[in-house]
Structures are given as structure tokens and as C-alpha cells.
Symmetry: C2
């Protein structure tokens, strides 16, 4: 069975690994499964052929055999359930790791996306300076809680899991913002993840797509 995922033809993050195909590439590398990539233009993402697979017109999608999936969290959970290496064997530990996946995507990433949107779209608005501190504080509250829970551990709950994969990718978006500076254990957590061979292979693969697009 060939696994095919979709990704941006030319990623708006310029190959920094922030697009959500990175998560799925990383998960596939962690479990040692090869995959093909179908690149999509912004125009193609909104066309019926892609909307049939992804109702919200985004990347990534996952196709394998007669299964088509959208939404990176759902795709990664499917990969984690099908192949070993991303979830613990013990039932309770597995349920907790899955809760961390949801926590990454809904509780931690939500204010980070809001913060990124403000930085990207509202920088020239008259209210930008007045409003930014409250948005930053919503992010800081979550970072403080995440940092307190992680403490001096390597990963959130025992061995590296799909919960760590999604959490690292959510928090990584803040690299360079200064917001992580107060939480050295979170910086070390990201660095530990980035040092994983699977991460490095996934990062190089998505960067190669961006570099090729730039050359063409």
C-alpha cells in the first residue's frame, strides 16, 4: 500500500517546517513508513477534487489503499494506531498520550494560532500595540502550565509519543518570538525533538520542496 500525503507546492513559511504536512512527514518517519507527496497550489486546494478529500481546503491529507483522511491530528492518530512507535502499548498510557495530542491541538495551539494571526495580519492596524499584550498573555498562560507539567522530564508522559510530536510542533511556531525565553525547559524540549533522526529527515524533505519551488 502506498501512502500519499498532500503539501503546499510553495509553503508560505518558506521551508521553516511550520506547515502541517511537517507533522505527518515526521510521524511517518518515526514509524518508518515511506510516503509519496502530492504538491498543491493554493488554487488547487480550493477546487472540488481536493475539497472531496479535505472539506476545509487545507493540507495535509492522507491517502492509503481505500482510506482518505484529512486533519493532521486524525492522520497522525491513524498512523500511530497502525504502526508502532508513536503510542505506548499500555492502555492507560496510550489514552493519556492521546489526551496530550488533543491538548496540543486545542488547548495549546489555539492561542498560538491567534497570536500568529495577529502578528501576520494586524501589524499595521491602529490597535496592534494596544491589543498584542493580552494575546501574548494568553499564550504565556499555556506555556507556563506546560513548562510546569514538563518539569525536568524529557517528554510529557514517559517515552516520546504522538502527543509530544504535536505539542512540539505547536510550540515551535513561537521560535524567534521571544515568548519561549522564559521557559528554558520548553526550549530544551523542542531541541530534543529536533535532534531526533525522524524529525531531521522530515524537516529536510519539506525544505527540499520549498527550495525546488524557489529554483523553478
Amino acid at each position: 500500500m502506498t501512502i500519499t500525503i498532500t503539501a503546499f507546492e510553495s509553503s508560505p513559511d518558506r521551508g521553516r517546517g511550520l506547515a502541517r504536512d511537517m507533522r505527518v512527514r515526521w510521524a511517518l518517519e518515526e514509524v518508518g513508513q515511506p510516503y509519496d507527496v502530492r504538491l498543491l497550489s493554493f488554487k488547487a486546494m480550493k477546487e472540488p477534487a481536493h475539497l472531496a478529500v479535505h472539506p476545509f481546503g487545507q493540507i495535509p491529507t492522507y491517502e492509503g489503499g481505500d482510506l482518505a483522511l484529512f486533519e493532521s491530528g486524525g492522520i497522525i492518530l491513524h498512523i500511530a494506531e497502525r504502526y508502532g512507535g508513536l503510542l505506548p502499548d499500555d492502555g492507560n498510557a496510550r489514552a493519556r498520550a492521546i489526551s496530550w495530542m488533543f491538548a496540543a491541538l486545542s488547548t495549546v495551539e489555539q492561542p498560538i494560532i491567534e497570536y500568529s494571526t495577529v502578528k501576520l495580519l494586524e501589524r499595521d492596524e491602529s490597535w496592534y500595540d494596544a491589543r498584542l499584550p493580552a494575546v501574548e498573555e494568553r499564550v504565556r498562560v499555556r506555556l507556563r502550565q506546560l513548562s510546569a507539567r514538563l518539569g525536568s522530564a524529557d517528554w510529557l508522559d514517559g517515552a516520546f509519543s504522538a502527543g509530544d510530536l504535536l505539542m512540539v510542533h505547536a510550540v515551535q511556531r513561537l521560535t524567534g518570538s521571544g515568548l519561549l525565553d522564559a521557559f528554558p525547559n520548553l526550549g530544551a524540549y523542542i531541541a530534543r525533538a529536533e535532534a531526533r533522526p525522524a524529525y531531521k529527515r522530515a524537516f529536510a524533505a519539506q525544505l527540499a520542496v520549498f527550495e525546488a519551488a524557489r529554483r523553478s
Copy 2:
């Protein structure tokens, strides 16, 4: 095994069913499992005893036997995997239903939470009127896509699933905002969910907590 969940001692939504314990109550009613509820004050939610179970100091949590979980998505997926009635038996359909759970929480709820936050916290700010339309439009984009995918179907992908449960609860937060008016199929989708006996029992149970708090 007794299942115990946590909920607000006095819900800030005044019993409208928007707090996240409602989702878990609804899921437990759908699968026919009884549960106890431990009520928490806002102060207790930030204390070490609760933070040990929920790193982000929120409700709901789930405790059953030697398993403690946080994050409504993770709790509901655990319930859905353990008991019948919230996920299809077929493996592919099951993976798609789980993708809808993630879509509800990260793709659809994210702009709705941002919209609710703006309505709640920024109404008196000088930028409120100038900024609101862009926030509303981010919500409308998702509603338009969701409405197009749902079409004239009863549920998002075959029979009612945990994906519908989370999607309905995410979109319900817009009831009364006017944003749903342009999408009658989404209004009917919410009404269909609210007519389910399990929904009604869960709604009544959380309302009873609020009414009791008001009387005391």
C-alpha cells in the same frame, strides 16, 4: 468501576450547556454509562490537586479505575473506544470519524473560540467594531465549508459519531449570534443532535447543577 468527571461548581455560561463537561456527559449518556460528578470552584481548578490531573487547570477531567484523563477530546475518544455507540465498527469509517473529532476541535472551534473571546472581552475596546468583521469572516469561512460538506445529510459521515458530537458542541456556541442564520442545514444539524435522548439527559444534568448553585 465508577467514572467520575469534573465540572464547574457554577458554570459561567449559566447552564446553557456550553461548558466542556457537557460534551463528556453527552458521550457517557450516548454509550449508557453512569457517572459521578465532582464540582470545582474556579479557585480549586488552579490548585495542585486538580493540576495533577489537568495540567491546564480546566474542566472536565475523567477518572475511572486507575486511569485519569484530561482534555474533552481525549476523554471522549477513550469513552468511544471503550464502549459502543460513538464510533463505527469499520476501520476506515472509524478513522474518518476520529478525523472529524480533530476537525471539530482544531479547525472549526478555533475561530469560534476567538470570536467568543472577542465578544466577551473586547466589547468595550476602541477597536471592537473595526476588528469584529474579520473575526466573524474567519468563522463564516468554516461554517460555509462545513455546510457544503454536510449538505442534506443527517450527520457528517454516515451514522451519528463522536465527530458529530464534538462538531455540534463547537458550533452550538454560535447559537444566537446570527452567524448560523445563513446556513439552515447547520441549524437543522444542531436541532437533530439536541433532539437525541442522550443529549437531553446530559443537558438537564448540567442545568440542574447550575440551578442548584443559584439556589444555594
